[in-house]
C-alpha cells in the first residue's frame, strides 16, 4: 500500500487506496474484504476513544467528497458529545450530479469498505443508527448493499455489541425515489423521513436537529469509505497524497470523449493532462474542446486548463469548483450552447420549486436556450441569460440554483462566439444543418 501511495516522481500517478480491491475476484464479498485487511481498522477504532477518532480525521485533513469539501473531522466535531437524543449517521449515496460515477462503483465493488467506515464514523459520533440513502435508480447497488449489510450483521460487524466492544450499530439501506435535490443533505433528510424532498432552512444544522430533529451527520460515500484507510494508515500517511489543504486520494470519474472512460484514483491535485494520459487520451484523437471538473454544476473549463491542479484550491483558482471530480470531456464536435441547453433542461426538471430564483429562473433560462439552439435567439438573449443567472446565483435557497447557472455563465464566458453564431444564423434566416454536430435529437 505504501508503495502505491508514495509513487516516485514521474511514475504511475495512480494511488489505488479506495479502489485497490476493485479488481479482485468477487471483491464485494465479505470473504474477499477480510482477506484484504478488511475490518482491521474497525478493531483499532473500537479500542480508541471516540474523540481520538475525530481528532485523527481532523489531523488527516479528510475533506468531504460529496462536492463541498467540508472537513469531515470538523463536521463530526459538531455532534453533541453527550447524547440526550439518538444520534444519526446518514450516508449520502444519492450520486445525482451529472457525470458523477464513483459512489455507485465503489459500493458495487467494495461495499464493505463503506460499511466499515460507517461503523467507525458512527462510533466516533456516538450514533447507533446509520442510514445509507442510495440513488433509487441504482437498484443493483441497493441489492449489493443489502447483501453486504446482511453479511456484516451475520459476522458481528453490525448489530449488538460489535466485536465485543459493547458498541451497537444498526444500518438501514434506503432507496431514494429519483430526485436530484434529494442529494442535498437536508432534502435528503426530509426524504428519509418520508416527506417530499426539499431543502430545509438552516439553522438548525443537521448536527443540532437533523433526521427526526435529532443530531445527524451526513457524509458522502467516498468520504466515509476513506475513513478505515485513515485509521489504518494514519494521518501522516494520508497526507503524503494530495496537497496541503486537499490531502488524500480521490476517485476521478472520466466520461465522454476519452479512450478509456472510467474511475481513476489519484492524489488530489492531479491535472486533466495527467488523467487523460491514464485514460488513453482523447477518443480517436479528436481534440478537447471543453470539460467539467466536477459535474455540470461546476463551471466548465477548456483546453487551456489542462494543467489546473484538480483539488479544492486549484479548481477555485481556475474559477471553477472541484465538485464531485466528475470530468465530462467533450471534443470539438460538440456545440457548447447545445450542451448548456441540455444541462439547463436538467436543472429546470430537477429544481425542487421551493425558491423563486431557481424555480422560475431555470424555467426561463431553459426556454431562452431552447429558442437559441433552435435558431431563434438574439444577442439580447445572451445578456438576458447572464443577468438572469446573476439573479439566481447566490440568491437561491440551496446550492442547486447556484449550480444551475454554472454551465451558462462559463459556457458564455469561454464560448460566447458560439452563442453569437446562433444569433447570426437567426439574422441570416439560414436553415442550414451546420454546427450542431453533437445534437443528436
Amino acid at each position: 500500500m505504501t508503495d502505491a501511495a508514495n509513487p516516485p516522481e514521474g511514475t504511475n500517478p495512480l494511488t489505488p487506496v479506495l479502489t485497490r480491491r476493485w479488481l479482485s475476484p468477487r471483491s464485494w464479498t465479505l470473504h474477499t474484504y477480510e482477506q484484504l485487511e478488511g475490518y482491521s481498522a474497525l478493531r483499532t477504532a473500537l479500542s480508541a476513544h471516540p474523540d481520538q477518532l475525530i481528532e485523527l480525521v481532523k489531523a488527516a485533513g479528510l475533506r468531504g467528497r460529496g462536492g463541498a469539501g467540508f472537513p469531515a473531522g470538523v463536521k463530526w466535531g459538531f455532534m453533541p458529545k453527550e447524547p440526550s437524543k439518538p444520534h444519526y449517521l446518514v450516508i449520502n449515496a444519492d450520486e445525482g450530479e451529472p457525470g458523477t460515477c464513483k459512489d455507485v462503483p465503489l459500493m458495487m465493488a467494495d461495499p464493505h469498505s463503506l460499511i466499515e467506515g460507517c461503523v467507525i464514523a458512527a462510533y466516533a459520533m456516538r450514533a447507533h443508527h446509520c442510514m445509507i440513502y442510495v440513488r433509487g435508480e441504482a437498484l443493483h447497488c441497493v441489492r449489493r448493499l443489502h447483501q453486504a449489510v446482511r453479511e456484516a450483521y451475520e459476522s458481528g460487524y453490525l448489530g449488538r455489541d460489535i466485536l465485543g466492544s459493547g458498541f451497537d450499530l444498526d444500518v438501514v439501506v434506503h432507496a431514494g425515489a429519483g430526485a436530484y435535490i434529494c442529494g442535498e443533505e437536508t432534502a435528503l433528510l426530509d426524504s428519509l423521513e418520508g416527506k417530499r424532498g426539499q431543502p430545509r432552512l438552516k439553522p438548525p444544522f443537521p448536527a443540532q436537529a437533523g433526521l427526526y430533529a435529532c443530531p445527524t451527520t451526513v457524509n458522502n460515500v467516498e468520504t466515509i469509505a476513506s475513513v478505515p484507510y485513515v485509521v489504518n494508515g494514519g494521518s501522516d500517511w494520508f497526507r503524503t497524497m494530495g496537497r496541503e489543504k486537499s490531502p488524500g486520494p480521490k476517485i476521478y470519474s472520466l466520461s465522454g470523449h476519452v479512450e478509456n472512460p472510467g474511475q481513476y484514483e489519484a492524489p488530489l491535485g492531479t491535472t486533466l493532462r495527467e488523467l487523460l494520459e491514464l485514460a488513453g487520451g482523447m477518443k480517436d484523437g479528436v481534440p478537447l474542446k471543453f470539460w467539467t471538473p466536477g459535474g455540470s454544476s461546476t463551471p466548465l473549463l477548456t483546453a487551456d486548463h489542462l494543467d489546473v491542479p484538480l483539488d479544492f484550491e486549484g479548481a477555485t483558482e481556475a474559477g471553477t469548483m472541484l465538485g464531485t471530480t466528475a470530468l465530462m470531456i467533450f471534443n470539438e464536435t460538440v456545440s457548447v450552447p447545445w450542451a448548456v441547453m441540455k444541462w439547463t433542461q436538467f436543472y429546470e426538471h430537477e429544481s425542487c420549486g421551493k425558491c423563486t430564483p431557481c424555480r422560475e429562473g431555470c424555467f426561463w433560462l431553459a426556454q431562452v436556450l431552447e429558442r437559441m439552439v433552435d435558431g431563434r435567439g438574439t444577442e439580447e438573449d445572451i445578456d438576458t441569460l447572464l443577468d438572469v443567472c446573476d439573479n439566481i446565483l447566490g440568491r437561491s435557497f440551496c446550492a442547486l440554483g447556484d449550480g444551475a447557472v454554472s454551465p451558462i455563465t462559463s459556457g458564455i464566458k469561454y464560448f460566447r462566439d458560439e452563442f453569437l453564431a446562433l444569433c447570426e444564423r437567426n439574422r441570416s434566416t439560414e436553415t442550414a444543418d451546420t454546427a450542431l454536430v453533437g445534437a443528436a435529437r
Binding site: 429546470e348 430564483p357 443577468d387 447566490g394
Partner: protein
C-alpha cells in the same frame, strides 16, 4: 461603516444586540429576525413568504439584503426573514445597497414571468402585495418573451376556498398556516420546479374550520373565497372595523361592504385576542342579516284572524306595553334575552325586567344551566377582566399547563383552540378532561414543534357526567402539572350539565393554585352576566339579595329605596316551567330559539300557555309562531355595542351599515318602557355604555363559590349507554344558514363509540345507530373511536342529530342504543358532493341544515342564491 464611539452611547440592554440598518443604529432583542428589526425602524423590506405568525421559510427570496457580520461582508445577499440579528451586524437594505436592490428587482421579475397578470379581474387587485411590491420594487418592463406556464383555472381547495394556481407565487404561507397554526394540513405543496403547486393533501379529509384564513394571508389572488370571488373590487368597498358576533372568542374583524350590503368579512389584527385569525364561521357566516325573511316592520297578532300582521311601531309598542302591563299585574312576566345580546342590550333587558316588570325573573342562559353554575358565575367569574384578575389569551399561551374540562376548544371557542395549539407548539402541556381524542384534542396534545421536539399533554378520559369526580381525583401527572405557577383550568359552559363540576373546579383551583377561566359559547353570555340578566345578579355583579348593592342601583336608576325586588328570580328553566304551569302570565323573549334550550318541549308549552308574548327578533323562530307582538331588532352590523369575550375583555364596535332604520334591542326596550311609563334611558348603546361606566363594578361582597359534592357518572343498564354531547362549531345554528359553502366544511355527523361498545351492540363503523331517550330518537352513522365503553357521543345540533329537540336529554344522561337495520342502498348520505370530491361531509351536512331552513316561514332555501339578492 463603523459608528464612531460616542461618549453618551447608552449601554446595550440585557438580552439585546446592537446593529445598524441602513446606517442607523438600533438595539434589537436577541433572536429577532432582521426583517422585523427593520420594520420597527420603519424600513420596509419587501416580502412574500414571511409572516410573523408562521415559522420562517425563506422560500420567496424577495427580502434579500446585504449583511456584514464581524466586520466582514457576507458574500451573498441574505434573506432578512430567516436571519437573526447579531451584535455589530451591519444591514443594508434596498435603500442603501444597490446589490440588495438589484437582487430584489431580480426576484420580482422572476416572480412575474409566470404570473398571469390578470389584476383587472383578480379579487386581490388593489390590495395585492404582489401588485404593490411590483410597482415599488420591480422593473416596468419584463424581459420574458417566451411561454408562460399555465394551469386550468380554479380548483376547489375546500368548499369555500378556490385556488388559481397560475397566480400562486408558491410562498407556502397557506400550507404553513394549515400545518402550523390550524394543525389541519389539508393542503400541501405538490410536484416540483415550475410545476410546483398547492394541492389538496393526500391523507387528509380536507376538513378545517380555519381555511378562510389562507385567503387572507395569501399575498396574491391565488386563493379566493367561493362566496365572494368576482363580486367586488377592494377599492369599491368601505371597510369598517368590527367584532364577530358568533362566539365568545371575541375576534376583531374588518367588515367590507358597499351600498348597504356586507360583501365579506376579514380577520382584524389584534395581537391580544385573535392575532390575525378568524374561524370560518366568523368569516363567512354573515348573510343571515340580509336573509329575505328578516323582519323589517313590527308585527301584531290580529285579534280576529289570529295571524300576525304588519303594524306601525306606535301600534305595536302600544299593544306590547298594554299586554305586558296586564300580564305583569296578573301573575308576572319572565324575561329571556338570549345569549347573543350585546352588553348594552343586555343591560336594557336587565333594567326593563326590574323597572318595567318589577321582577328578577330574567335569565339570558338559553342553554343548559344550574343553580350551581349561577353561584359559580356570581362568585368566580363576574367582575373579572384582563386587568381585574381574569385569565387572558396571553396567560393561556404562557401557561406551563392547561386543563380543559367540559370544553372542546376547537368546537366551542376556536381562537382559544388556536392559542392553546400555539402554546402547545412552544412549551405548554395541554390536558383535556373528556371522552375521546377528537381532532381538536389531538391537535393540542401531540404537537410537533418547529423542527423541535414533541410536546404533549393528554386526554384524561372519563365517562360523561363523571367529570366532577374525575376533577377531584386527577391523575398525578396532570395534578402536578397544574401545580406549576401560571397553570390554568378552562371550564366550558356545558359544565352546567354535570352536577358538582363547578364546585370541583373551585376545589381544584384551591388545591393546585391553578387559575380558572370560564369560556361560554355565545358572544353575549359574558357581558350579559355583568349587565345583570340573571335572576340573582344586578348590573356589575351586585347581588339582588344584598341591600347595599340594591341601594346602589336604586340610586343610579333614580328609583325610590326598596323599589327593586329583593328575592332571587327564576332562572330560564324556572321561568319556562312557571309559564307552562300558569304561574307566570307573560314572556318577553329576545331572539331565543326554543330548540336551543335544554328542554324545547317545555319551551313550546310555555309559549303555548303564556297569556302574552313579546318577541324581539330579527328572523322567524318558534317564538314567532306564538308571539302576540314581534318587534324587529337590528343585527350586529347595523348597530353599535360591546361584547365581552370570555376573558371579560370589552370588544366594542361601531355601526357598520348606517341608517337602515333598524333599532337595537336597547332602543326598542327604552321606547317600550316609555309606553309603560318607565324611563330606562337606554335610547342608544352609547348612553348605556356611559351609564355602565358610571355604575362601575361592585366592590362589595361576593358570594361564596359553590361546594356541591361531585356526583359519579350514571350506571348504564342493559341496552343503555351514557350520552356524551357537545356542539360542533358548524352545525344547524340559525346564524349559519344560507351559507352552503361554509356548511361544506362542517364535520361529518356521526355517533361515536368505543370498539368494545360497538361490538357489544353489534355496530360497525359506517352503519347507522339509533340513540333513544324519553323525548325520541336520533339515527346517524356510527364511527368507532377510542372512548370510554358504554358511551355514545353525538353532536348536539348537527344534521339529524338534534339532541335537545329529539332526545330531550343532555350530556351525561342514560340513553338507549341500538344498531339500525342497514340503510337501503341510495339512502346512504355519504355520496360525495360532485363539486367537492375531497369532502364527503358536504352533502350530509347540507341535508341536515335543510329542515332548519324549511321550518322557517318564507325561507325556501333557494331564495338565498346570490343572484336573487345581488
Amino acid at each position: 461603516m463603523t459608528v464612531a464611539p460616542e461618549t453618551d452611547t447608552p449601554p446595550v440592554p440585557e438580552g439585546y444586540v446592537r446593529l445598524t440598518v441602513d446606517g442607523r443604529r438600533i438595539d434589537a432583542p436577541k433572536g429577532e429576525l432582521i426583517i422585523r428589526t427593520a420594520e420597527r425602524m420603519g424600513v420596509v423590506i419587501p416580502r412574500f413568504c414571511d409572516h410573523p405568525l408562521l415559522d420562517p421559510a425563506g422560500a420567496c427570496r424577495q427580502c434579500l439584503v446585504e449583511v456584514e457580520v464581524n466586520g466582514k461582508a457576507m458574500p451573498k445577499p441574505q434573506a432578512s426573514c430567516t436571519m437573526t440579528v447579531a451584535d455589530g451586524m451591519v444591514v443594508r437594505t434596498q435603500h442603501t445597497s444597490p446589490a440588495a436592490d438589484k437582487a430584489q428587482q431580480g426576484i420580482m421579475e422572476l416572480l412575474l414571468i409566470n404570473h398571469p397578470l390578470d389584476c383587472p379581474i383578480c379579487d386581490k387587485g388593489g390590495e395585492c402585495p404582489l401588485q404593490n411590491q411590483a410597482l415599488k420594487h420591480g422593473r416596468s418592463e419584463s424581459r420574458f418573451r417566451d411561454t408562460k406556464r399555465t394551469f386550468a383555472k380554479p380548483i376547489p381547495i375546500t368548499s369555500q376556498v378556490l385556488l388559481d394556481r397560475e397566480r400562486c407565487v408558491l410562498c407556502q404561507r397557506c400550507t404553513r398556516f394549515a400545518k402550523q397554526v390550524a394543525g389541519d394540513p389539508f393542503i400541501e405543496m405538490l410536484e416540483r420546479g415550475a410545476l410546483q403547486q398547492v394541492g389538496t393533501a393526500e391523507h387528509h379529509s380536507g376538513q378545517s374550520y380555519f381555511s378562510g384564513n389562507t385567503i387572507q394571508i395569501c399575498p396574491v389572488g391565488a386563493l379566493t373565497s367561493t362566496a365572494y370571488r368576482f363580486r367586488s373590487r377592494p377599492f369599491d368597498l368601505v371597510s369598517t372595523p368590527g367584532v364577530c358576533e358568533h362566539c365568545a372568542s371575541g375576534c376583531s374583524q374588518r367588515t367590507d361592504w358597499r351600498r348597504g350590503k356586507v360583501m365579506r368579512r376579514l380577520a382584524g389584527e389584534d395581537p391580544e385576542v385573535n392575532e390575525e385569525w378568524n374561524c370560518d364561521k366568523g368569516r363567512f357566516a354573515f348573510r343571515y342579516a340580509t336573509a329575505t325573511d328578516r323582519f323589517t316592520r313590527p308585527l301584531v297578532r290580529d285579534r280576529s284572524s289570529g295571524e300576525l300582521r304588519e303594524a306601525s311601531w306606535t301600534e305595536a309598542l302600544r299593544t306590547a306595553a298594554d299586554g305586558l302591563v296586564t300580564a305583569r299585574d296578573a301573575r308576572g312576566v319572565g324575561v329571556l334575552p338570549g345569549g347573543r345580546v350585546t352588553m348594552e342590550d343586555a343591560y336594557a333587558y336587565s333594567k326593563f325586567a326590574r323597572m318595567a316588570l318589577g321582577t328578577n325573573d330574567i335569565d339570558h342562559r338559553a342553554r343548559v344551566h344550574s343553580d350551581e353554575e349561577l353561584e359559580f358565575l356570581s362568585s368566580t367569574v363576574v367582575g373579572t377582566a384582563p386587568d381585574a384578575g381574569g385569565v387572558t389569551y396571553a396567560d393561556l399561551e404562557n401557561a406551563p399547563a392547561v386543563l380543559c374540562a367540559a370544553f372542546e376548544p376547537e368546537e366551542e371557542s376556536p381562537i382559544v383552540f388556536l392559542r392553546l395549539r400555539k402554546a402547545a407548539r412552544k412549551h405548554t402541556r395541554v390536558f383535556h378532561l373528556g371522552q375521546w381524542n377528537s381532532p381538536g384534542v389531538e391537535k393540542t396534545v401531540a404537537v410537533a414543534g418547529a423542527g423541535g421536539p414533541l410536546h404533549s399533554g393528554d386526554l384524561l378520559p372519563c365517562p360523561p357526567g363523571g367529570e366532577a369526580a374525575a376533577l377531584d381525583e386527577l391523575p398525578a401527572e396532570a395534578d402536578e402539572a397544574l401545580r406549576q405557577p401560571g397553570a390554568v383550568l378552562v371550564l366550558g359552559e356545558r359544565a352546567a350539565h354535570v352536577t358538582g363540576l363547578h364546585s370541583a373546579a373551585v376545589r381544584l383551583a384551591r388545591r393546585t393554585g391553578a387559575r380558572i377561566a370560564w369560556v361560554p359559547r355565545r358572544a353575549g353570555e359574558r357581558g350579559a352576566i355583568e349587565a345583570g340578566t340573571t335572576p340573582t345578579l344586578l348590573p356589575g355583579g351586585r347581588m339582588v339579595t344584598d341591600s347595599r348593592a340594591r341601594a346602589d342601583i336604586e340610586r343610579a336608576w333614580g328609583l325610590k329605596p326598596t323599589m327593586l325586588p329583593d328575592t332571587p328570580g327564576r332562572d330560564t328553566g324556572g321561568i319556562l316551567a312557571a309559564t307552562a304551569s300558569g304561574e307566570l302570565s307573560g314572556l318577553l323573549v329576545g331572539g331565543v330559539d326554543p330548540d336551543d334550550l335544554p328542554d324545547p318541549a317545555l319551551a313550546r308549552r310555555a309559549l303555548e300557555r303564556a297569556d302574552f308574548v313579546v318577541s324581539l327578533e330579527m328572523r322567524p323562530t318558534v317564538a314567532t309562531e306564538r308571539a302576540d307582538v314581534v318587534l324587529p331588532i337590528a343585527p350586529t352590523v347595523e348597530k353599535s355595542g360591546t361584547f365581552l369575550n370570555w376573558e371579560g375583555r370589552a370588544r366594542e364596535f361601531a355601526v357598520t351599515i348606517e341608517s337602515t332604520g333598524s333599532l337595537p334591542d336597547c332602543r326598542v326596550l327604552d321606547t317600550l318602557a316609555v309606553e309603560m311609563d318607565v324611563d330606562l334611558f337606554t335610547q342608544t348603546p352609547a348612553a348605556v355604555a356611559g351609564e355602565l361606566e358610571r355604575l362601575g363594578s361592585h366592590d362589595g361582597r361576593r358570594p361564596q363559590p359553590p361546594d356541591v359534592p361531585a356526583s359519579p357518572a350514571a350506571e348504564p343498564g342493559p341496552g343503555q349507554v351514557l350520552l356524551a354531547t357537545w356542539h360542533q362549531l358548524l352545525d344547524n345554528g340559525s346564524l349559519q344558514d344560507s351559507e352552503p359553502h361554509l356548511a361544506g366544511t362542517a364535520r361529518p355527523t356521526a355517533a361515536r363509540l368505543s370498539a368494545r361498545t360497538a361490538q357489544e351492540f353489534g355496530v360497525r363503523t359506517g352503519q347507522h345507530v339509533t340513540v333513544g331517550a324519553a323525548g325520541g330518537t336520533v339515527t346517524v352513522e356510527a364511527e368507532v373511536v377510542d372512548m370510554p365503553d358504554r358511551t355514545v357521543w353525538l353532536p348536539t345540533n348537527s344534521g339529524p342529530s338534534k339532541v335537545d329537540r329529539e332526545l330531550g336529554v343532555g350530556h351525561g344522561a342514560l340513553v338507549d342504543l341500538a344498531a339500525d337495520v342497514p340503510a337501503p342502498p341510495g339512502a346512504a348520505p355519504a355520496s360525495p358532493d360532485p363539486s367537492r370530491p375531497d369532502n364527503p361531509a358536504g352533502p350530509a351536512v347540507q341535508e341536515g341544515t335543510a329542515p332548519t331552513g324549511s321550518r322557517r316561514a318564507g325561507d325556501s332555501g333557494g331564495s338565498h342564491s346570490e343572484g336573487s339578492r345581488a
